[in-house]
Amino acid sequence: MRVEYINPFVEAAFNVLKEVLVNSDVRRGELYLKSASTPVLGVAAIVGLAGDVEGRVLFDMNRDTALAVASVMNGEQLATLDDLAKATITELANMITAQAVTKLHDLGFQFDLTPPAIFTGDNMEVSDQDVEALIVPMETPQGKIEINVAIRERA
């Protein structure tokens, strides 16, 4: 993945999480690369990217984390991962990706977003052949959120 794309995503993830989780202790783990198939922790929000590039950003977390994050964002304790909780996680994905894309736009890269979608379930796996993904692990008091960015230049 192009070096210039990395920082905008890392910064956006950090800023947005810090903001929505109300100044809690958000930390970034070590970045690394992963190839092809990615097991999903239980809840995955996905945003597609198009424009100069093609790719997608996947926000991966387990159910407990998703529920805890959604609870904080809504300011009330949610009991189940219902429509409201799912919509909240989707919105989180949208916020982070949009902020990253805005930063990239300032650097001169043109990206478009697709509306986010959310997947929940057990033993899910995402496979996209021929793309390696950058993993940005974010540690929050609510649990771990893995941001999985796979972007390829349009040949």
């Binding site: 993945m1 990395i6 190839s35 092809a36 021929d130 793309v131 390696e132």
Partner: protein, 441 residues
């Protein structure tokens, strides 16, 4: 008179020797592996057993046969023959195997051998240090050799074999997996020389452990030349590499000229000089392992001058995030840049950097060559000192990828001490000091 004293002295010596042999103070359990006799110190052996139906453990190293329930204790079962790359006779599924149960550092292991023989007692003084030509097993795992009843037993140092650190274990795993096409040298081809000179094998192993440098046909020529040099350098001293510093010293001469710096004008001219004067409208370059980006910018400048008309695009990648993250915005002192490239510089706030013309040509990517390589077909691949630092299987895979991505008559540049084995696909070009290959049409 003289002769009688000599005779008696001889007799004395013989008697003394006999006495020494009679004093049995070392007992070992003996067994056979691939037709040879081996022994293990009886103090390390908990018991011997016959067992089968080991429970398979997924993802374990190839020499781990599985785990076994020994009267309530779960122990791991190691196949000694696979560990040492000896031919193992195939037994019928679930047949009973001869097992030696060992106790090493509070841990209990089961070791599968061909057949257990008996307990043999010898005098510990009669045990001689190992000699490399006795055995197929790496000398560092042997504590000695002893003769008894006209049979020669090789005594294995089980502490060494099983109490090793995780790192060393990986090394063995690597050895066990290394029977892939590009890893031609070890046993068969050069077996003769290596057997006589066992140090070369150690150096090969330790270079991989410390610096992930793997000896293969790509760098075998250099490795063997360096070994002769190394022997002279160290005289009779210790040839082996004990730490990172030793490994770095051994590899010191390996790296290509201008690693981590801009290419000199002469070097760049040698590269472009070997290439045709005309190029396609779109000229693509792949530069895996570009590090901090000095190499990539050198290529960019040299090609810009050589092919002013072409639209040149360079895909530069490295799996070291720290190194590559500064590459797109690199700044430097003007004196570091060879004169030929200075026309492409612009002065900024924090020093000189390359002009937009050059920067637009280059795309730096955080990318691991072992993953899918998605760039379009390329005219030139510059891949210096990268292949040598991949495991042998990975080397053949990446070389295959390069061959696939490269257009016909495209060029491949490898490190100053590397070469691509001659084949149907590659032909070498004379371009000293640059090592260039052309993909045959």
């Amino acid at each position: 008179m003289n002769t009688t004293t000599e005779l008696t002295r001889n007799e004395d010596v013989q008697n003394a020797k006999k006495e020494r042999l009679d004093k049995i103070d070392y007992k070992m359990v003996t067994f056979s592996l691939a037709g040879k006799d081996y022994g293990i110190d009886i103090m390390r052996v908990k018991e011997i057993a016959k067992a089968g139906k080991f429970t398979y453990v997924p993802n374990a190293a190839p020499f781990v046969r599985g785990v076994y329930n020994l009267r309530g204790d779960i122990i791991s079962i190691i196949d000694m023959r696979i560990l040492f790359h000896l031919p193992a006779e195939r037994k019928v599924e679930n047949a009973l195997e001869d097992l030696i149960i060992l106790r090493v550092e509070e841990r209990i292991f089961g070791v599968v051998v061909d057949s257990i023989d008996k307990v043999v007692g010898v005098a510990s003084e009669a045990i001689q240090p190992p000699h490399p030509i006795f055995t197929d097993i790496n000398v560092k795992y042997i504590s000695g050799v002893v003769e008894n009843a006209s049979r020669l037993y090789i005594i294995l140092d089980v502490e060494r074999i099983f109490a090793q650190k995780q790192e060393e274990k990986k090394e063995i795993v690597h050895e066990a997996e290394s029977s892939t096409p590009i890893q031609a040298p070890p046993p068969q081809e050069s077996g003769e020389d290596d057997r006589g000179d066992v140090n070369i094998g150690f150096i090969r192993e330790t270079l991989f452990t410390f610096r992930r440098f793997s000896v293969s046909p790509i760098n075998k020529g250099w490795f063997e030349r360096r070994y002769q040099e190394w022997k002279k350098l160290k005289k009779d001293g210790d040839l082996q590499l004990k730490d990172f510093e030793d490994a770095d010293e051994y590899l010191s001469g390996f790296y290509s000229p201008y690693t981590g710096a801009f290419w000199s004008s002469e070097y760049a001219a040698a590269v472009t000089g070997a290439m045709p004067n005309e190029a396609a409208k779109n000229y693509n370059v792949w530069n895996p392992g570009c590090g901090k980006g000095f190499e990539t910018y050198s290529i960019a400048c040299a090609l810009r001058k050589k092919y002013p008309e072409s639209r040149i695009k360079i895909w530069a990648n490295d799996s070291d995030l720290l190194n590559i993250s500064n590459a797109p915005n690199m700044t430097f002192e003007i004196d570091d840049v060879p004169e030929d490239f200075r026309e492409f510089l612009v002065k900024g706030k924090s020093g000189y950097s390359f002009s937009q013309v050059i920067r637009d040509m280059v795309m730096f990517e955080y990318h691991d060559v072992l993953n899918a390589n998605p760039m379009p077909d390329v005219d030139l691949v510059v891949c210096r000192d990268l292949l040598s630092f991949l495991a042998p299987t990975e080397q053949s895979r990446v070389l295959g990828d390069i061959g696939e991505k490269l257009k016909e008559n495209g060029f491949l540049m490898v490190g100053g001490n590397e070469e691509i084995p001659v084949s149907e696909e590659w032909e070498q070009l004379r371009a000293d000091p640059v090592v260039l290959f052309r993909k045959k049409a």
